[in-house]
Amino acid sequence: MGKPGREGKDASGREGTASSSGEPIDRIFHALGDPTRRAILDMLAERPRSVSHLAEPLGITLTAVAQHLLLLEESGLARTEKVGRVRTCRIEPAGFAALETWIRNHRTSWERKLDRLGLILTEDDAGPTVD
């Protein structure tokens, strides 16, 4: 099995080519491995934005933003939608939920047990029942 290398870089609109290689979690980590894409996600976490409103503050071209957005969309971290003549972008929770699951499943069972113990010990204040 080969490593997914530069997937998506030259996918010019064809669906399937980039997304057929690698597991979803591979695409998520690949997408997050780039500082510009993380900056895009930082901006989208505040509010949805248009493509040009992403390009300006980042100082990159619309084409570059579009390529980054393609990868973010394929990994389920962002969504874009054309409303009228403007393409708007927003955070997509599905990818983040997948990432959270991945992280949660890589905590050892004892760490998870102690997380729950901590919750129970703090919940105690609220009421006597623990279930």
């Binding site: 997304s19 597991e23 979803p24 979690i25 389920g76 599905a94 990818g95 997948a98 699951t101 499943n105 050892t108 004892w110 760490e111 998870r112 047990k113 102690l114 729950r116 113990l117 901590g118 919750l119 129970i120 010990l121 703090t122 105690d124 623990v130 279930d131």
Partner: protein, 156 residues
């Protein structure tokens, strides 16, 4: 593949809780409270939980992993025996874990409770021998493939 191999491992976890040691100790000694944090989780169904909290006493936990876990439908049984109990200070257990029909590990878990101004510092030292075919890497990988496959369907 069927080589006999044992992997030994020790890890230490430390947590601070905003409650005095007697309350933390209670969470270990009271069956209903311990069941809530020790046995229950979103990944599996608890089929059995028995706790006889005294030196020489047994604790039995039997789970069945749910669909959203790496090992759907598989039973996990953990048997512990309390080796040492110092009220509000220390609990030591020796345990054996079985996944399906296989014994997968034997471990010694030492829990120390240290009083602090803010509450309690808990130090958990886990020393274990993991046996071959423990369903570690290969089952985990298979389970993950399945989970990620389901995820992919949701994403597309």
């Amino acid at each position: 593949m069927s080589d006999l191999t044992v992997v030994h491992n020790t890890f230490v976890l430390e947590r601070s809780f905003p409650k005095p040691p007697d309350q933390v100790f209670f969470a270990f000694s009271d069956p209903a409270t311990k069941r809530a944090w020790f046995a229950q989780s979103e990944n599996h169904k608890v089929e059995k939980f028995e706790l006889d909290f005294r030196v020489g006493g047994f604790e039995l936990t039997q789970y069945r992993f749910g669909e959203n876990s790496p090992f759907p439908g598989v039973a996990l049984v953990n048997e512990e025996r309390f080796q040492d109990i110092v009220p509000n200070r220390r609990i030591v257990t020796a345990s054996k874990m079985m996944l399906g029909e296989r014994r997968i590990s034997a471990s010694l878990v030492t829990v120390e409770l240290l009083p602090t101004e803010a509450g309690t510092d808990l130090i958990l030292t886990h020393q274990a021998a993991f046996f071959e075919g423990s369903g570690g890497p290969e089952m985990r990988e298979a389970g993950w493939k399945k989970l990620l496959g389901q995820l992919e369907k949701e994403l597309l």
